[in-house]
Symmetry: D2
Subunit: 423 residues, 4 copies
């Protein structure tokens, strides 16, 4: 298969893709710092890295950073609809990178591109959803011997890999990048919180001030959405199934209600649970005319759209990215982004902020380096990211921001040790 | 001149415009409440209302509301670039409304449309910038006798009218809608605050968390921007020229610095002063690579773009709605919306939130009613909106939101009176 | 009458009083700055200033500051219970100050002390409640000729003076210090807000987190209490009688309810209205067991304690500064500080924070200076504090805090002028 | 040894102690709920519980709750200075409780009281600091056979027990109550946060608005202090030694500085690290006149008072609970509570809020019940509190507050399981 640049008329795409990458690069100080050290140290010299990720500007900077460290990178998309062709073209024009990603491909083309990556015979894989590692195990097991290991970005992918691992079917080591503090603390609280609210505001032209905003779930994403909405003068109502989280929300000053009651109170509903059927049939009956329904959790199963559809007299796209369901009694319930991730799936959504992905991809990059340097230390299977790698990324970020910290004196170390390990 | 619908192929525009108006109507409860009472009471029966405003969905709801009250409404734009043709077509299809507004008209067409409105021989005018009242005084003085009065929405327009008034050249009464508490408290703090931040976030794909955000000016707009940015976990720095506002900002917990020092600290700069030359030549020298510069004040004179241009090695559109100025030393300073109002002038900006305009237009509508009912009570000249009209709109909003308040008992009234007027 | 120091055994009192004054002085930078300039310029040389104020540490610093400017100061209390004897003794030992204030005096002694001050034949008066100006007009009208003018600190006093003024019975000019922005913005929002909440917390040993706090009134005091309570993770409910304030509260994200409904929701009730009968009979019926009731408004008439008493089966002091009213059904309603100002009247309350009084007294001091320097410019009657004096105090505070501001360039001045006065 | 009531004249103490306990009981809904179920079920029938804790009102409610469950409780203090004699007397008058605690005892008396408790031959121990469990192991090992187990409240005690456990010297099972989410999330964030700030405000009569507050450490306590101070309009600066926590603070919008720089910026310094030497010699050199220094961490070693003393020209108690250290250059550094826990050790401090201790003691109570019911399941040594017990307390609290939550449907359970355990 040909790389992307030979499939499309590329001049204008190239320019636009490079413009997007320039912007991302300018706001990814961790990547910049790592790129500099990788250029010096060439940790990936001789390695071939296969990647299957959303091919947009932020990811492109991860790819070029790995390439700057000496890797030969081959990349394709991890979803037929998420590729930006311009970025793909620009990436393909980057030294050391070949891109096969193309938007709107059919199933066959999607797998052809995946195979094209695999034909580079990667010695390391970087996945978002696990498609690459899965395809290799299924179709190209002969490559596994020469693969040092890989990294997986998402909850879904990690879940899939753990299932493989449980069945003794995962034959090389994989880092679960998804689960690190650097990802959960920043990506979920700040990234999901801010980008979900901004996407909703800019899709609807509505204000948060004085709105009753129902946040389903008070995990990291829910906390982020609830606090940021409160910071825009919304009145936040939290629903939960876990008593301690419910109590946390209550003690933070939020109302806590079962969804059955919250349904009648809310102006905006944002699900962040990761579970299914959070807003269902009966709830729709109780909602006011004009409510907004959005999902900032994971899959599009949190709001039961089938039930909503079956209750509606008619449905129409009331704004770009927003479907109105009109009930027999005239109430209109407005669903954003078809219940898919609202910070990704409306026409104007841009996904997580650049800086937040800088942190996630920082962990990816140091994990890839760790695999090359100490791959032998990791058995086949899923591995937590070593804590010192996660800390290293935090340190790089602080340095990039010019933030200094205190160090521990010997006396202080000793004092802490005496506490932790007993006198 | 023909109304808009005869100028354009209208079917698709009509549908799209009605879709936009439906959405706005759904979130403008004050307009809904007034429309209902206007339908009953027909306060504008026999009146012809001429309007020159930004013809987009929210304004359209004002126009249809006045028409519902019995007025014959003729409307055109107040800016050659701000008309939404689809809304204009939909408005023209509304009972009692004729629209002449069209996007991208040249000067001649702009004034032709204005004249077309005037040829309806309005008995009342509703202006945004004062063009209509000015044209009537200049060109159609013979109409003034039959004009009861009018309303003006903006700072600029009120300013212009006061100048006319000072010269005894304003020959019918005008309400200065711009200056009411209902407008300043909500439009400025919540409307400008939220929509500016959301426009910046969605244009740049950047996060507020941990950013140093310099807010120039701590008036109503500045307070809104500062508090909302802080509510998104930014670290806010305020610049001011007034000592009490500077102290207010300091006592609220914000850093206060002269712009000369703030320039070196900020990641994002947002001007809200209403003055000119707030960010100038020397400041640009001190800024870091990658800063964002945006204006949420009034005119595009707060950031001195000429100075910036002259200092830059090159300039290019780094993202849609964002111009990068690259300095000789490689630093890139990024200006949003060409220094014009960032919540209006980027490609994805939508202006003030619907609910906020509902409040402003609520004041417009009751002011128009007041003119019809009690126009005699107002001499030619600029008039403050009577406080009870402003309060009435607040009451309508509270009722629409289902919010109940306490009333004052007789004893309480008496107690307060004894305080206010002496024992 | 003898000054305080000859009435009491003073050694220990002196030391304790000076310790309190030292502390206050250390945290009153505006007073320090003014003291320094007053020492240089001696604006009050030859003047005799009579003061009737709460004689505690913060006020003492105002008195010593005026004395440092050359005044001969004679002071007494403005309330028989608010004097700190130790501070009074220490003040008496201050150069240029004679204090007659003593705690727990009876009516006769109270007026004797007032007369002792008047016998100094003041050329200027500084009042908190108007007793001094009133006594002079009633009993010593012959002094009025030589009195330049005076200042009044409080709402009550200003109210009383305006009543005199309305009757043409106020024969020298008085500044209404109470009404300045420097007082309302900081004293009410920050001073009342913080000190009320801290007094309640430290009297009850209870937490704000997750509490439903009902704030009656959303003026400056109410805003302060509501925002600061929210900042401690309370869930705030506002009651109001004014629709725009109700809407302001709603748009800021607070619940707005009539007291009748709020009564059943609240854990803590704080009145800030300045009106009477805010919490009355029926409300008590609906409250939960264990609620707290406190007043942060003005007089002790906001909570109807007579009604509460008549409904209670028994009442007892459940904690120092907190009276429990036990209902027939076993519910206990807990009233702090007998419904008087909770930040002043519990055993541990300390009144407004030092820094806040520094600002109020800064205005007092520059007003006194203005009277001496430009007294002729003011007719007999009540005068608003000239805006430039209020600004001057803000400037002094900023300088004391090391905070720099921007200035206006000539071009900027011109631009603003063109706006304000017409082109 | 005689119980407390026979050592002191008790009538007035009894009344005062019961008044304090009444207040605490009124605001400890978890204890109320458990007391009710314990009265019914008598889980401690036949058990003898020995307690060594701070004997004040909140602890007293724990003791009476255990007694209500059928236990014979014997209690003494865990610190010679922390006992409230009135509460001790009131406790001794409670059915099923014998108290030996007395304030201000010498070492000998302290241990006599401890022995008096042990002579009750407890079958369970409840400790705050581990003195009781330690004394039993050292002096009364013969009792261990009949002891089912115990609970330990504090960090220090748990640390000490783990050291014993590491040496195989802990011969019965102990629950580490200190480490549960219910304690860390609420006690540290809300309890320490609020009570530390209120104690500082009420000791100093100073305001938080506009203050630069340096918070050393951004663990749970530091987060609480930082957020609550920010909620009172302070400008917060965080110091940290851990890069991820430093980054968390930065991303939350706080300034992050090394203490060396923060020293020159701060108006108030609050240590929350749990480590020693956080503020040391050089830092004092850089601080401004009038700063406040307080510790909200654990021991009084966070601020190096020896170094401060040696640098000071003189030192004196500037206010009750506040020691001023005056430097040669005239600067005064003000230390609260001698560097001990500021929310416990100033004259007006009351420790953690009642509701917060309700949660901690709720965990204690259900742990005690668990020991009785399932003690066999726990080997000698330190045990984490089983998660379901911690959750149970959260559920009781929610029910007491009338807060309802959602439950998981079967489909939801299944969906989550499929995620956690693989498809």
């Amino acid at each position: 298969m040909d790389p992307i640049s030979e499939q499309l008329d590329t001049e204008k795409l190239l320019e636009e893709g490079q413009r997007k990458m320039d912007w991302a690069r300018q706001h990814m100080p961790i990547m910049s710092s790592l790129r500099e050290s990788f250029e010096d140290e060439q940790p990936f010299a001789g390695e071939r890295i296969g990647m299957a990720m959303h091919v947009e500007a932020k990811t492109a900077i991860l790819a070029e950073t790995l390439a700057a460290g000496g890797a030969e990178v081959a990349i394709t998309g991890c979803n037929p609809l998420s590729t930006h062709d311009d970025v793909s073209v620009a990436l393909n024009a980057t030294d050391g990178v070949t891109s096969y990603a193309k938007r709107g491909v059919d199933d066959e083309e999607y797998y052809e591109a995946m195979e094209a990556v695999i034909e580079h015979e990667p010695t390391m894989t970087v996945d978002d959803g696990g498609d690459l590692v899965f395809a290799i195990h299924e179709e190209y097991p002969e490559l596994i011997d020469t693969i040092i290991g890989g990294c997986e970005e998402t909850t879904t992918g990690v879940h899939r890999l753990r299932a493989m691992d449980d069945d003794d079917a995962l034959d090389y080591p994989m880092f679960a990048v998804n689960d690190t503090p650097m990802k959960r603390l920043f990506d979920n609280i700040h990234g999901t919180g801010e980008s979900s609210l901004a996407s909703i505001a800019m899709t609807t032209n509505l204000s948060w001030a004085g709105k009753d905003v129902v946040v389903a779930g008070f995990g990291y994403c829910g906390k982020g959405v609830a606090r940021k909405a409160s910071g825009q003068n919304a009145n936040v109502i939290v629903t939960e199934v876990d008593p301690r989280r419910a109590l946390e929300a209550h003690m933070e000053g939020f109302d806590v209600l079962p969804m059955d009651e919250a349904a009648a109170e809310g102006d905006v509903f944002i699900t962040t649970t990761g579970n299914r059927d959070v807003i269902v049939g009966d709830h729709f009956e109780k909602m006011s005319d004009g409510v907004l329904l959005a999902n900032a959790g994971h899959f599009d199963v949190e709001i039961d759209l089938d039930a909503l559809e079956s209750k509606a007299e008619q449905t129409y796209e009331a704004r770009d990215g927003l479907q109105a369901y009109e009930m027999a009694d005239g109430r209109r319930l407005n669903v954003l982004a078809e219940g898919r991730l609202v910070n990704l799936a409306t026409p104007i959504s841009l996904g997580h902020p650049v800086e937040v992905m800088d942190q996630s991809f920082g962990v990816q990059a140091v994990c890839a380096r760790e695999m090359v340097e100490n791959g032998d230390a990791y058995d086949p299977g899923v591995h937590d990211v070593p804590d010192e790698l996660d800390r290293e990324v935090a340190e790089i970020k602080l340095e990039a921001e010019g933030i200094e910290m205190d160090g521990l004196s010997d006396t202080q170390e000793e004092y802490m040790d005496s506490w932790q390990h007993g006198t």
